[in-house]
Amino acid sequence: MQNDVVLKMRGINISFPGVKALSDVDFTLRKGEIHALMGENGAGKSTLIKILTGVYTKDSGQIFIDTDGTESEITIRSPQDAQNKGISTVYQEITLCPNLTVAENIYISRGEGSLVNWKKMEKDAGALLERLNIPARPRQQLGSCSLAVQQMIAIARAVDMDCKVLILDEPTSSLDEKEVAMLFGLMRDLKAQGVGIIFVTHFLEQVYEVCDRITVLRNGELVGEYEIENLPQVQLVAKMMGKELDDLTDMDKKEFVPVQDAAPVFEASGLTSSDCPNPFDFSISKGEVNGFTGLLGSGRSESVRAIFGADRVTGGKVKVNGKPVKISKPIHAMKHGIGYLAEDRKRDGIIADLSVRENIILALQVLKGFFRPFSRSEAEAFAEEYVKALAIKTASLDTPIKSLSGGNQQKVILARWLLTHPQYLILDEPTRGIDIGTKVEIQKLVLKLAEDGVSVTFISSEIEEMVRTCSRLLVMRDRKIVGELVGPAVQQSVIMKTIAGGGD
């Protein structure tokens, strides 16, 4: 049994200024297994991965890797060093260079010699892409591929490096179902070849679909390693959160009954934007939670961006509280009490180098005008209130937001919008890439907001979340609204059918 081990980490410790990120963590990976590394955000998964890939250096502890049956201790100095030692990683965010070609991205900084053999590189890349069924051409500029394809190219690169250990850090968060299935096929192939795969994901179903073993971390400590058969999903969640999970069941959305003769909070007809060419109608009443659903790329985000004026609005009429208004820029929407939590947190959400406090007051400050800044104490009071209300885990209000975990960053952005006391809040994928505990908190918050009379449009890739929160769903396919589900029709099976177009 012991001989099967390909990677062993023992007693890993690391701390950052003010935080003990990992204490005494053990991790064992066997040949030909898919091993899930689970934990909430801030549990230390990313830190452990980054130690393995040479981005961070551990304070103490040992890492052993198996080379042809002999086990030897290694130190990993840099990502390059990790690659050379057979540890390859595919990250959640695409870590390829968009300005290079597909082939270059697969082969850069690999191989011997100081010259590049373009012909051979492109031929090899072509063969590899074909073998893995990736719809990209070697000479294509990477930036012209879709995000999903870029992700697959990153995996192709790792696969091609004859790695002993393949780390997949949230690889599926930007892939649609078909692509996920393809990826899983690939993972099983690699597993059969004896590669040890570490799989980090937030999708519990995916863990149970492909994984053999699970290691659970919590607050930088090892909770345990389990065989997948011996750990039912509910218990896994309980182990990750450190408490029994009855939160999901006690969440109950109320049947939504709109006030009869009140004008909708927001109403749009024939709305189009530069990225959303098909005109659509949309309305939302006070205290309603509705949602856009559909496959990745079906135009969900584009629709809400048009509502918020985030893309160039090209046509349509918009009414707020029954009065016709013009929304062509986000600031217009904000002045009408609309808030928008963007899908891409890194790009459209956080300002990485600003502090938590500054990030929180940003939207309100914009509304007030930059020439009338909040005093330090006002800002602090605001920030403190929401840090407490949303239980944001941060060392202080002055901590740069980039050093917070994903879930906490998301809460800060939420706080930013809540602080403006919007009458209508659009949440685009607020739960992507964050841990299950925070997910539940956010869903509860949405329901609570609705109770308080805020209208919310909610978008999520996880249909269960939509079912749990929305009382009305607009289903999109190929950039068009193809169905509207209300009340009891908001069920997983009906949604699936509508997305698939069974009703046509």
Binding site: T95, L96, C97, P98, N99, I108, S114, L115, V116, W118
Partner: protein
Amino acid sequence: MNRQARTLRRKEPLTDTQLLLTITICIFFAMYIAAMAIWGGGFLRPQQLFDMLNNNASLIICACALTIVMIGGGIDISVGGLTALVVMSCVVFLDDFGGNIFTAVLLSMGIGLAFGCVHGLLISYLEIQPFIVTLAGMFFARGMTTIVSIDPRTAEHAGFLLLKKTRLEIPWLGYIVKKTGKLIPAKIEIGVIVALVIVLIVFFMLKKTRFGRNLYAIGGNSQSALMLGVNVKRTRFLSYLISGLLSGIAGFVYLMHTGAANATVAAGAEMNAIASSIIGGTLLTGGVGNVIGTLFGVLTLTTIKSIVVTSGLRDPWWQTITTGAMLCFFILLQSVVLSNRGKFKLSDLFRKKKTDVILEKN
């Protein structure tokens, strides 16, 4: 196998680098041909083009240096100051210290390498802003120039003067003076050959060596490049080292053209070099660029200037104003073209539409 071969042979849409290069080359030729048609005269003679090269050989080399650094996402504004320091040092070395041409060349390269090395160390290993580091380098080099000699100097070394006078003559590209019927061959200075060889070497380096591709990678996204296993620090260091080396060579080439040195030599050369690189399709943000484009960038800039002069606006400020307008135009063009990529494909104009094909079949 057959299918794979076909996929490989298929025409790919141009990469950003190739697209910007094409634009620059087209604009240069359009402009030059327009100038030939409108003003004729000098523009019709090949010598006009060679003079552009003769007068700008050192600028071409500086612009190559800038292109390399800018592709890596950095900037080097010390090239002009460094050129001046090298020019002055070489004159003093040749005339006062009895140096010969070979050691003078070594001295130029040595000065360049020394500066490049310090820049590289500070920028890539101590992670100081490249703009500040090379600004300091520029002031330092300018100051050193005055220390080497406060008076303007003219080279008097016999061997060097011989080299300076040497011209490559191409009779068949020359022209006949009508009055005397004498053939005046086209003349190219040694510096131009050096510059063109450097352009070729840099082109090869950027296209074919791992260092070159790593440079594009770190310019495109240095974080990703690091994750892909590129030695970001070393690559960045090397780019400044090469930039320094090229600036040194540019200094010697400058001296071969003018034979004179003073403290204001190559004033503003760094800005001209940056402008040329940008016109040539190198993005200040890094990751996109091509040294052939840079060559055409220098030529475009020079052509514009001679057009301004030919059209009667002889005051020097007209040249700077046109340069400014030109730069603005190119940056605007680049950003419009790049941001509209994929939305509108030029190739669609030439490719048959699907419907056309179907119609033809019927």
